[in-house]
């Protein structure tokens, strides 16, 4: 794979799944 393709794959994955992880943690902490 080219470096550019790897970069954009990692970027997209990090924002989306990273975002999910953060919201998941907040959801667990908010305990409603």
């Amino acid at each position: 794979m080219t470096a550019q393709a790897i970069f954009f794959m990692a970027l997209g994955g990090t924002i989306l799944w990273g975002g999910f992880l953060v919201t998941f943690i907040i959801s667990v902490k908010s305990k409603d």
Partner: protein
């Protein structure tokens, strides 16, 4: 006496059901092609802008309204102002049409999942799909016969919708989502792992992710990014308002909206990796450039992929079963959510108990869906899907944003969601709901109309476009007005 409204058992149950509704067939067969054809890695710029300036704000709007007014979409809008009630019925009628053709596609996916065990589609998957499987007629107005295996599949899908919604929010929808969603994500993850380890997968991923920055300068790419996010999150269908109306008083709306959007978009991102890895492997096998094998929609799922699976030995059988099960699981949770949105609206309006209304809707829905089990079913689906999505659903979302942005005032909803959420949203949200979202949706509708006049959709004749396209839109608007004139019979209205 006021009736006790059903409630989710837990917030995660609601989030899983909402993700299940958002994750649908489009995540698997539309998004990968959208990225590829809209600038690859560069598409992420408009895509993320669309998620943060339209997708998440609209989800917060729908969750907020549903939670504040505690009702289905027509009920919520009628509580804002009786004159707006029809704007709540229009998406419900559109959803009814969607549900009918969705059941047909799911019946195909069920049949293909079974056929994957011995790859009965043979070597020519194109001929098999159109001639043997669909027995497609020569024109959209030529109905000659009923295709029995598809009709049986449709029956099975409606039976499932009925069984889930009949049991209610907690025991039916929530329980089913808690089983199906994790399994769907695990299967997709396995497909991705196997996909990226195939010979030639890198070729596909390069084509998918390498950025073309010129594409970002094209306004059409921005419109398609907003369209992708809008359709992907099940906004404007009446589902999210209905689902959030089952939330308890104290809940976290803002974070739930972010979580739903990230999970849905994360899933479609995974799908894109899986799909393009397999397409890269296919191109390598056939010794052609990846661009020659790239396709989307029905052609990808029922023609291109079966063709790849045919040439993959035992792994073809395994991946075939997993891929079509993925399609079924992704679609069935959306199908259940559509059934629930329709049942809740009609049940509330005419004060019909859940079990009766769900049964009636599923029986009527099954009978109407049989039109799609005929040899002209594919044409019907193709035309109806284009018009309902591009006009019915987009206009419903637009009207919602205008009502909240310009009549109710966004601050009313923002104050409500901020009062109960873990983190607060600022006045930026008001600006988005008032100006950006309506603006983008108006541009989307205008662009669709201009395209329509330049080239009639799909190259079809005027008659089928009028009958299955524009007439469906007209039925939606007139039907919505008629139903909204009837009196509310439920005691809690």
């Amino acid at each position: 006496m006021e009736k006790q409204r059903e409630q989710w058992n837990s917030k995660f149950g609601f989030i899983l059901a909402a993700i299940g509704s958002a994750v649908g067939l489009g995540n698997i067969w539309r998004f990968p092609y959208e990225v590829y054809s809209s600038g690859g890695g560069a598409f992420f710029l408009p895509y993320f802008c669309a998620i943060f300036t339209a997708g998440i704000p609209l989800l917060i709007l729908e969750y907020g309204i549903g939670h504040k007014y505690k009702g289905s979409t027509p009920k919520c809008l009628s509580l804002i102002n009786k004159k707006f009630e029809w704007m709540g019925w229009w998406p419900i009628i559109s959803s009814s049409f969607i549900l009918c053709y969705y059941s047909m596609i799911l019946s195909w996916a069920v049949k293909y999942a079974l056929m994957s065990f011995n790859k009965t589609w043979g070597a020519d998957t194109n001929k098999f799909f159109y001639e043997d499987f669909l027995q497609l007629s020569s024109s959209p107005t030529s109905f000659n016969k009923m295709v029995l295996p598809i009709a049986i599949g449709i029956f099975v899908i409606w039976l499932f919708n009925w069984a889930v919604c009949y049991r209610g929010v907690k025991k039916g929808i929530e329980k089913t989502s808690k089983i199906i969603l994790p399994v769907l994500f695990i299967i997709m993850f396995i497909i991705v792992i196997r996909g990226v380890t195939l010979d030639g997968a890198a070729k596909g991923l390069n084509v998918l992710f390498e950025p073309d920055w010129n594409a970002v300068k094209n306004p059409e790419i921005w419109i398609s990014a907003y369209g992708q996010v809008f359709f992907s999150l099940s906004i404007g269908t009446g589902i999210m308002m209905t689902y959030s109306s089952y939330l308890p008083e104290k809940t976290d709306i803002n974070n739930s909206a972010f979580m739903t959007a990230f999970a849905n978009c994360g899933f479609e991102f995974l799908s894109a990796i899986g799909v393009f890895s397999i397409l890269g492997a296919m191109a390598t096998m056939q010794n052609v450039p990846v661009d020659e094998v790239v396709t989307s929609g029905i052609g990808l799922a029922f023609i291109a992929f079966p063709n790849v699976f045919t040439h993959m030995g035992v792994w073809g059988n395994i991946l075939g079963v997993m891929f079509f099960v993925c399609l079924v699981f992704a679609g069935i949770t959306s199908s259940v959510s559509l059934t629930e949105a329709i049942s809740a609206a009609i049940g509330e309006k005419f004060d019909i108990p859940r079990k009766k209304v769900v049964t009636a809707i599923c029986v009527i829905g099954f009978v109407l869906s049989l039109a799609f089990a005929t040899d002209a079913g594919l044409y019907l689906l193709d035309i109806m899907d284009n018009y309902i999505n591009n006009y019915g659903i987009v206009c419903a979302g637009l009207l919602e944003a205008v009502i909240v942005g310009w009549y109710l005032k966004p601050k009313t909803v923002r104050d409500h969601v901020n009062k109960i959420s873990y983190f607060r949203i600022g006045s930026w949200w008001d600006v988005i709901i008032k100006y950006i979202t309506p603006g983008m949706l108006i541009i989307t509708v205008v662009q669709s109309i201009i395209k329509e006049f330049q080239t009639p959709y799909g190259g079809y004749d005027t008659l089928p476009l009028l009958l299955y396209g524009w007439l469906v839109i007209v039925i939606g608007i007139i039907g919505a007005h008629i139903i909204s004139k009837c009196r509310w019979k439920s005691s809690d209205k």
